[in-house]
Amino acid sequence: MEKEFKHIQTAHCENGATTSLLRYHGLDFMTEPLAFGLGSGIFYIHIPFLQVNNGPAISYRSMPGWIFSRTCKSLGVKVTRKKFGNNEAAAKAYLDQKIKEGVPVGCQVGVFNLPYFPPEYRFHFNAHNLIVWGKENGNYLISDPVMETVTSLSEEDMIRVRFAKGPLAPKGHVYFPENVKPVSKEIIQKGIIKGIRRSARDMLHIPGNIAGVDGIKYTANHIRKWREKLGPRKAGLYLGQVVRMQEEIGTGGGGFRFLYAAFLEEAHAYIPNDELLNISQDFTKVGDLWRASAVQMGRIYKGRINNEQSDFVVCADMLTEIADLEKQAFLKLKKLDLG
């Protein structure tokens, strides 16, 4: 089976790996927004008492790995996954064998030792995804979904990034779809409905106050207290972390909200209910507001210590408004009659 692998650039690495692998296996309809929507990628969580890079632990998306598994499951695609504990030799042998068989393989890696990332972006983040699609002169041919072009990794670097340690350690994790059969329009429609319902449920009804739309308010309430609790400088750094989680390479802008709006627009092509387009507009508005809140936060942390409590209140109020708007939008999605 010698098919040519085609590199596709996407906003987010896991959406990208999902899209590229499924398209390679003949599912030409697959796009990044569709993968994101079918996999219910949109989310929000603020984990208390946990620090990431000395700042708050906030995420705008669901757990790493879930987008790929949910999307494949809803399309009836079987997924093979393998982890190798600490056995680097077995992990290498397995990858080499698959490449020899001509099977492009998704790989979970840490970015701290990823040589083609600029130093400024190399943190201990272990849930990055890339696709290995060949080997040439002892180097792996890499399709990293966030990159414009293909790249490569030496065997040594490959082992290092596949066996990065710490939270979410990849342990050599590789994955690929198998025996992919053609997918009917009905299955895609069903998948879209399931993906939307699951996102609405997660954002509206997840218990506790740290996740879903309540989680956004939770962050807003923290922002109101940060300056007094942490001092002006550290509070500014915390806001910077919020903005980076929201806007850094990988989110498609506005903390994945534009991506979700694009998904709803695309869903309309499968399920011609015009309300989908209206709700897509709602999410575009929400995404724009997230961007506006980033601008407001930027004004604070650019001034370092020259900030006032009233500046933080403005940010918190914006997030509260966003939480309300997202709540309304997800309520509309929940009530939507999609057949």
Binding site: Q9, T10, A11, P33, Q51, N53, N54, G55, F112, Y116, F117, P118, E120, Y121, F123, H124, V146, M147, E148, T149, K165, G166, P167, A169, G236, L237, L239, G240, Q241, V243, R244, E247, E248, I249, G250, G252, G253, G254, F258, L259, A261, A262, E265, E266, S280, T284, G287, D288, R291, A294, V295, M297, G298, Y301, K302, R304
Partner: protein
Amino acid sequence: MKKEELPQDESALKAMTRELLYVKDKEGKYTTGLSTGWEVKKAALDNAWDDIKERVEAARLAVKNGEKSPVYYFMELRLMDFPVLSGYTGFWTFNIKRHLKPSVFKSLSEKKLAVYAKAFDVTVEELKNFKG
């Protein structure tokens, strides 16, 4: 966000790639656009790195003044927190915290020093002889 409003500011991404974002075209439909960066998030990343540099410098001084062991310095230098260092070394956080004390560090076996050196990507000599 409209495609023509997509920021094209210079950023650290320059050395790697332009990033892909979801934007609206002139007909109001979603499309993708490439961006070289956005100054709002560039400032956030720059600040984070200024903070890291300050932390590393503070750690260096703490080692120099005999308050902390070299493990503390290299931990900051490699952007590690306890869960990450624990992952790389296999040592419990409780023990790593003890190893941050200069007195305890002095009594560490060569074997344990080698584990730390590997985690920090330095030689045992560099680790042992770091004076701040």
